[in-house]
C-alpha cells in the first residue's frame, strides 16, 4: 500500500512539474517569437536554452495605467528635431476606454513590453518593407489620433526644432507631468439620442443609472472609443441632442444595449416620441426600494446573471438567516415594545408576507396597524 501511494505521489509530482514547465506540445505554432523564451536558434529537448525569466521584474501590458511611466523621452530618431516628450501615463489612462494598452502595444506577447524597435527597423531603406519602419510606426501611433481631433498634421505640435531647443525642457516637462493624472471624466446624467427609427425617434439613455445604480464599468460599454468622443477642437456644443447618423447595422448599433436588455424586449422600452423617465424600481416592479435597498447594486439581490431574475417580495427569500431572535425590528423604523418582541414573526405578519400590512387579529379584537402600534417609531 505504501509503495502504491509513493508511486502515485511520484506520478502526481512529475505531472505537476511538467504542467509548470511545458508550454504545450504545439507551442512552436503559437504566434510568439522563439526568442521570447529561447536564447539559441535551434532549441532541443536536451538543451532548450531557456532564457531566465525575470517574471517579478517584467513590465507587461497588463498593468494599471497608474503604475506606468509618467513621461517617456523619444529621442532615437532625432535629426532635425529635438526629442519628443510623451506623457505616457495620461495617455494610458485615456486608452482604458479605447482598446487599452494593446491599442499601442500591439502584437505584444503576455511577456515583457517589447520596445518598438524590436520589430520596427530604424532604417527606411531595408529588405523587409512589410511593416513600417520606426519613424513610420511612431508617427502612425501619434498622428492617427492627433489629426483626428486636432485636425492638424504640423510637425511642431510634437516636435521642437533643434535650434529652438532649450536645455530645461525635459526638467520642466517632468515637473509638469509628475503626479499628474488625466482629469476625472465628467459623466453625463442623461443622454437623448435622435434616431431615424420609426418606432419612436428619441432614445433616452440614463447614463447615471447605468453606472451608479446598475454598477456597470466604463469599459463594459466604452471599449473602442475614438479620441474625438471627448477631444475634438471642432466640437463645442455637447448639450444638444446627439443625432445618431450611422451606417452601422441594426445589430452593431444595438449591441451595447442588447448585451443586457434582451432582444425580445419591446422597442418602446428605449424608443419613444418623448424623452423617457428614468428607471424607478417602485413604478416598474411595484416594490419601491426603501432606504436599506436603494443604495445596493442590482447584482446584490438579483445576482450578476443577465437578464435579472424577478424576485418575490418576501424578506426571507434573500435574508435567509433572519428569525425572531436575531432580527432587529428597529431597523424597520419601529422598535417593538417588550411584550411584542417576545412574539414570533408570523403572529403579526401572517403567512410570512412582510410586504402587506401586519395583522393584530391574532391577539387583539379591534386593533389595527398603523392606528395602534406594537412599539414606538424610531428613526
Amino acid at each position: 500500500m505504501k509503495k502504491f501511494l509513493a508511486l502515485i505521489l511520484v506520478l502526481v509530482f512529475t505531472i505537476g512539474i511538467n504542467a509548470q514547465q511545458s508550454p504545450g506540445k504545439d507551442h512552436s505554432k503559437l504566434n510568439l517569437s522563439c526568442k521570447t523564451c529561447h536564447s539559441c536558434d535551434v532549441p532541443t529537448k536536451s538543451d532548450p536554452c531557456l532564457v531566465i525569466c525575470p517574471r517579478e521584474k517584467i513590465t507587461t501590458v497588463y498593468q494599471k495605467p497608474e503604475q506606468t511611466p509618467e513621461l517617456i523621452t523619444i529621442n532615437q530618431l532625432s535629426d532635425r528635431y529635438g526629442p519628443v516628450y510623451f506623457s505616457h501615463k495620461i495617455h494610458a489612462q485615456m486608452s482604458i476606454m479605447s482598446g487599452g494598452c494593446e491599442n499601442c502595444h500591439h502584437h505584444n506577447t503576455s511577456g515583457p513590453i517589447l520596445k518598438c524597435n524590436s520589430c520596427h527597423e530604424t532604417s527606411r531603406k531595408r529588405e523587409d518593407v512589410s511593416i513600417p519602419d520606426l519613424k513610420g510606426a511612431y508617427h502612425r501611433q501619434c498622428m492617427d489620433c492627433h489629426r483626428e481631433w486636432s485636425h492638424e498634421t504640423g510637425c511642431n505640435s510634437c516636435h521642437t526644432l533643434k535650434k529652438d531647443l532649450k536645455d530645461t525642457k525635459n526638467e520642466s516637462l517632468q515637473k509638469k507631468y509628475s503626479g499628474k493624472d488625466h482629469p476625472v471624466i465628467i459623466e453625463p446624467t442623461k443622454l437623448v439620442y435622435e434616431t431615424k427609427s420609426d418606432k419612436g425617434k428619441l432614445v433616452t439613455f440614463y447614463h447615471d443609472d447605468h453606472t451608479k445604480k446598475f454598477g456597470l464599468n466604463c469599459t463594459s460599454c466604452h471599449k473602442q472609443e475614438s479620441c474625438t468622443k471627448c477631444h475634438d477642437v471642432n466640437n463645442t456644443d455637447k448639450s444638444k441632442n446627439q443625432k445618431v447618423v450611422t451606417k452601422k447595422t441594426f445589430e452593431d448599433q444595438h449591441s451595447n444595449c442588447i448585451s443586457c436588455h434582451s432582444k425580445t424586449e419591446n422597442c418602446s422600452k428605449c424608443h419613444g416620441e418623448k424623452t423617457l423617465e428614468p428607471f424607478d424600481h417602485g413604478k416598474k416592479t411595484g416594490w419601491a426600494l426603501n432606504k436599506h435597498h436603494i443604495n445596493l447594486s442590482c447584482a446584490k439581490c438579483h445576482g450578476s446573471k443577465l437578464p435579472y431574475n424577478k424576485l418575490d417580495n418576501k424578506c426571507l427569500s434573500c435574508h435567509k438567516g433572519w428569525n425572531a431572535e436575531n432580527f432587529k425590528h428597529s431597523i424597520t423604523g419601529l422598535q417593538l415594545d417588550e411584550m411584542h418582541s417576545e412574539l414570533s414573526c408570523e403572529d403579526c405578519h401572517t403567512d410570512g408576507n412582510f410586504g402587506i400590512k401586519p395583522s393584530c387579529d391574532g391577539c387583539h379584537d379591534d386593533y389595527s396597524f398603523p392606528k395602534q402600534k406594537p412599539g414606538k417609531l424610531v428613526k
Binding site: 527606411r124 531603406k125 518593407v129 512589410s130 513600417p132 519602419d133 519613424k135 513610420g136 510606426a137 508617427h139 502612425r140 498622428m143 489629426r147 483626428e148 481631433w149 485636425h151 492638424e152 498634421t153 504640423g154 510637425c155 511642431n156 474625438t228 475634438d232 471642432n234 451606417k247
Partner: protein, 300 residues
C-alpha cells in the same frame, strides 16, 4: 583608277554596311529588361497618409524647384482645392472626404505612375522618353522638341509643359528620383514621409504586401490595388478605403495604353495586307465602273 580595284571597293562597302547594321543591331539588341522581376515601385497607402504634404516639399527640394520652408506646408487650406502635378510641383496631395468619418479625410498623393508599358515612351516621336529597368520612366530634355504628344498619350495626364516659358519650354514630370535611386538613396518623398504611407520596394513584394493588408483588414480597404493591372501595371500602386473613382483616379482597363495606338497603327500596315487589299478593292471598283461605261457606250 587608284590602286584599289572595283572588287576591293565592293568588299569594303559590304564590310562597312555589315558594321553599321551590326552596330544598330547591338544598339537595339540591348533594350532594357523593362519588366524585370526586380523592378521597383511604391505602394501608396491612402488610409495611412495624413496629408502633411512633406512629400511635396521634399520633391521640390530634391529637384531644385523653389520649395520654401517645410513649416509653411502645414497650412491645410491648400487642400481645399484639387490640384494637379505641374511644372512647379511634380507631386501634389489632394484631400477627399472620408464619408464615414468626417474628421479623418482621405489624402491622395498624385505623381507619375511610371507605367510598365508607358504610353509616353511610345508616343514620343523623338524617343526622348526611356523606361528603365528599375521601373523609372525618364525623359531627355535635350531631345524633347516640345510636341506634347506625351501629355496627350498619358492615361493619368501627368506630364506638364512649361507654358509660361517663352524660350526652350520643357516637359516636366516625376522622375522617380532617378538620380537619387542610382546612388542607392530612396526617392525624396518616400524618405521624408513621416508615417511611411509610401513604401518603396520591389514591385512584386509590394503587391504581396498590399494583398496581405487587404486580407487582414477587409473592412478598411476596398479589394483593389490600383496600378496592379491598370494599363498593364504601374510602378506606383495605391490602396484606399473607398472606390478609386471617388478619389478622381481615371477608370482604366487592363490593356497597356500604347497598345491601343500601336495596334491601330500596326494593324493598318500589318504585312501590307490591308493597304494592298484596299488598293485591290479600289482597283476593282475602278475596273467595274470602267467596264460599265464601255458597255453603255457599246449599247449606244
Amino acid at each position: 583608277m587608284s590602286g584599289k580595284s572595283r572588287r576591293d571597293f565592293l568588299k569594303s562597302t559590304a564590310l562597312i554596311g555589315a558594321g553599321v547594321t551590326g552596330l544598330t543591331t547591338t544598339a537595339k539588341a540591348g533594350p532594357q529588361n523593362i519588366l524585370s522581376e526586380d523592378r521597383m515601385g511604391v505602394l501608396v497607402d491612402t488610409t495611412v497618409c495624413v496629408g502633411c504634404r512633406n512629400c511635396e516639399w521634399a520633391c521640390k527640394d530634391a529637384h531644385n524647384l523653389p520649395a520654401g520652408n517645410l513649416e509653411d506646408y502645414e497650412d491645410r487650406k491648400v487642400l481645399d482645392t484639387k490640384r494637379r502635378p505641374g511644372t512647379d510641383a511634380l507631386t501634389v496631395v489632394n484631400e477627399y472626404s472620408h464619408g464615414k468619418n468626417s474628421s479623418l479625410p482621405i489624402d491622395v498623393k498624385v505623381q507619375c505612375m511610371h507605367c510598365d508599358h508607358p504610353a509616353c515612351v511610345s508616343a514620343c516621336i523623338v524617343g526622348a522618353f526611356t523606361k528603365h529597368e528599375n521601373g523609372t520612366v525618364t525623359w531627355d530634355t535635350d531631345m524633347c522638341i516640345g510636341c506634347r504628344y506625351c501629355m496627350a498619350a498619358c492615361p493619368f495626364q501627368v506630364p506638364a509643359f512649361e507654358y509660361d516659358k517663352a524660350l526652350n519650354p520643357m516637359i516636366m514630370k516625376c522622375d522617380f528620383c532617378f538620380d537619387r535611386t542610382k546612388e542607392g538613396k530612396l526617392p525624396a518623398c518616400v524618405e521624408i514621409c513621416p508615417v511611411e504611407a509610401l513604401t518603396y520596394g520591389k514591385r512584386s513584394d509590394l503587391i504581396k504586401i498590399a494583398r496581405d493588408r487587404i486580407k487582414r483588414n477587409p473592412d478598411k480597404y476596398v479589394d483593389h490595388i490600383l496600378g496592379e493591372t491598370e494599363v498593364g501595371g504601374t510602378s506606383w500602386m495605391y490602396l484606399a478605403s473607398k472606390d478609386f473613382a471617388e478619389l478622381e483616379f481615371p477608370k482604366l482597363g487592363k490593356n497597356p495604353a500604347p497598345g491601343v495606338s500601336e495596334s491601330i497603327q500596326h494593324g493598318i500596315f500589318a504585312y501590307f495586307v490591308p493597304p494592298i487589299s484596299l488598293y485591290a478593292l479600289l482597283g476593282g471598283i475602278m475596273w467595274i465602273t470602267k467596264r460599265r461605261k464601255e458597255l453603255d457606250e457599246e449599247v449606244k
